[in-house]
Amino acid sequence: MNKYQQIMDQIEVTEDMRSRILSNIEERPSPSPVVIWFSKYGAIAACVAVIIGSFMIFRWIPDRISSFGKTEIPEEGVVVASAPELTEKTGIIIKDIEPIAEKADKTSYQVYPSNLVEIIYEIDGDTVRLRKSEGRKELFENIAKYPEAEKLLFNQTDTTIRGLEGKYYVAEWTDKTYSYAMEFEAGKSKDEIENLVSDIMKPSAADLEAINSGIEYPREDEYRDSYEYAVVKAPHGHSVYGFGSADHMGSSYTVLDGERVLMLADRNGYTCVIVLSQNKGRWINSNYLVPEEDAAEDTLESELGKTEKESESLKPELIKPSASDLEAINSGIEYPREDEYRDSYEYAVVKAPHGHSVYGFGSADHMGSSYTVLDGERVLMLADRNGYTCVIVLSQNKGRWINSNYLVPEEDVAEGTP
């Protein structure tokens, strides 16, 4: 926490302030008292009518309400055409279970008055139901007929599966907001259920909104058709930056090498991901993300004896920062203008005239702030202006403007070395 945040933490709303403000708000004159009178009395009358009506009907038909309250499922739902329509009608985000939907002979979608949504798949005489509703509740009745209940962790989701004689017929789980349940008429194995639960709980585009930390959401057209897990490959084996936006690199967060992420969308060489360990949305340079399958293959290949040279040849592409990275790692330096950026970035080595150090400036034009950059430092050259080159000093991870005469391209240094 920086000092400014420490200062601001001293300012807090108090209970006294709360009651003072709320009382002032409550006491301020109402803009339309006549309408308020009507609405108050209209509302009360409506409530009384509904309560009396309900009471009378329940009194007259006692046998019909004997088991009221045991289930969330009403007699009939409203049939709609698709999963997005379910979402549109209820606000509950639900999507098809792709592995099942692809094979289903018939799929139906229903919404019930208690804001419960259901998708039913019929496949070769078997029926699979997925239900979702807000809050914590049981979504299937009669689950007691399955005596074997087991609690398992499926891809970070605590799931209860219920079954009989080694086959499981119901799976139930919840997240912070919703209850989910699936029923399989023909029964399924643990592994099959795990795959289905993982597929359903794979974060959707809209989930990003819930777990974001003020990041910019991708535009609709930027979302991928399907989301994949990836592993962060930090160029120096430590960490990379996760940004709040693909375009404006203002806020940045550290994402460690090896972190598992879910890739959701892409823009300008950046990928919008959910960092699973942090449960946060971030934009990360796409070069630093390796699809999980490829990461596994890479490991296998290196185990099989990939040569050092081959691995080395892959490095430069992976570690090349983008122009916009400069913004994230700057210390208040002046950014190059768009037309000043080089078409491709190259590494260089600082050659200090007296063999000790050179100045790295905050700007190519105004030399006010200066920082020491040692002879032999490795830098990445990004842009040029008036005989100065804007570089990232790799050991400091800072942007600086350095006199171009003091920079020797890395290849030349290597050639000149005996």
């Binding site: 920086n2 000092k3 400014y4 945040q5 200062i7 601001m8 001293q10 300012i11 807090e12 709303v13 302030m17 709360r18 403000i21 709320l22 708000i25 409550e26 301020r28 339309s32 308020i36 009507f38 609405s39 108050k40 209209g42 509302a43 409506a46 009518a49 509904v50 009506g53 309900s54 009907i57 038909i61 046998d63 019909r64 309400i65 088991s67 009221f68 289930t71 499922i73 009403p74 007699e75 009939e76 739902g77 008055p113 299937f140 009745e141 009669n142 029923e183 909104e209 974001n212 930390s213 003020g214 709040g244 936006s245 375009d247 404006h248 690199m249 203002g250 806020s251 208040g332 702030s369």
Partner: protein
């Protein structure tokens, strides 16, 4: 497990539907924010907003006005503005940005058109707690021109990106970047070793 097994709930749902229809009809007829037309009273909604955004708003207002009484007034005015205009947002992020936008404008209007009180309770508190280091930083931030200070506050306190700050303050992003950069430079000049706005 067929849905038809729970047929005996049909009468409950008839009543449920009737109550929903009556409720919606009243909501259409009645525009005042009370009764069945709205689920929460004005005070309850204001209380919710206060609990969620109170600290962010009062801190932003304080960063402009430098005294608690005026900052509290801004918090109250912002909540009233929200309740009166009942804006609709896609999510909480947008809602918060709207609240801060209103609070910033109200604060600037107050400086422009009203006399602002001269107490600085925050400085007094920092001095009383013998936090000279923080008092020094706060004094430096107070000296910044308003446009630099608001960018610094939203960036370092609220963690907004320059693009988001530009939207909240209704300015160009390049202007915000430049204000932020100049604000940093000025702070660096004043604070020297104590500077930590990286």
């Amino acid at each position: 497990m067929e849905i038809g097994e729970v047929r005996h709930y049909s009468f409950f749902w008839i009543i449920y539907y009737i109550s929903q229809i009556v409720k919606e009809a009243l909501a259409v007829l009645v525009s005042a924010p009370v009764g069945l037309a709205k689920e929460k009273t004005t005070a309850e909604r204001a209380g919710d907003l206060f609990d969620i955004y109170g600290n962010s708003i009062i801190r932003l207002a304080y960063s402009y006005l430098h005294n608690m009484s005026d900052a509290e007034d801004i918090l109250q005015e912002t909540l009233i503005r929200y309740i009166e205009s009942a804006p609709v947002f896609l999510n909480k992020i947008h809602e918060k940005a709207w609240m801060l936008h209103v609070a910033a404008n109200q604060s600037k209007n107050r400086i422009k058109y009203n006399k602002v009180r001269e107490s600085d309770e925050l400085m007094e508190e920092l001095v009383a707690e013998e936090r000279e280091d923080l008092a020094f930083v706060w004094e430096a931030v107070k000296q910044l021109p308003e446009k630099y200070r608001e960018a610094v506050h939203l960036f370092y306190q609220e963690g907004y990106s320059t693009a988001e700050i530009a939207k909240i303050l209704n300015r160009k992003e390049t202007t915000v970047r430049s204000d932020l950069s100049r604000g940093r430079e000025k702070l660096k000049e004043i604070l020297k070793e104590a500077y930590d706005f990286e």
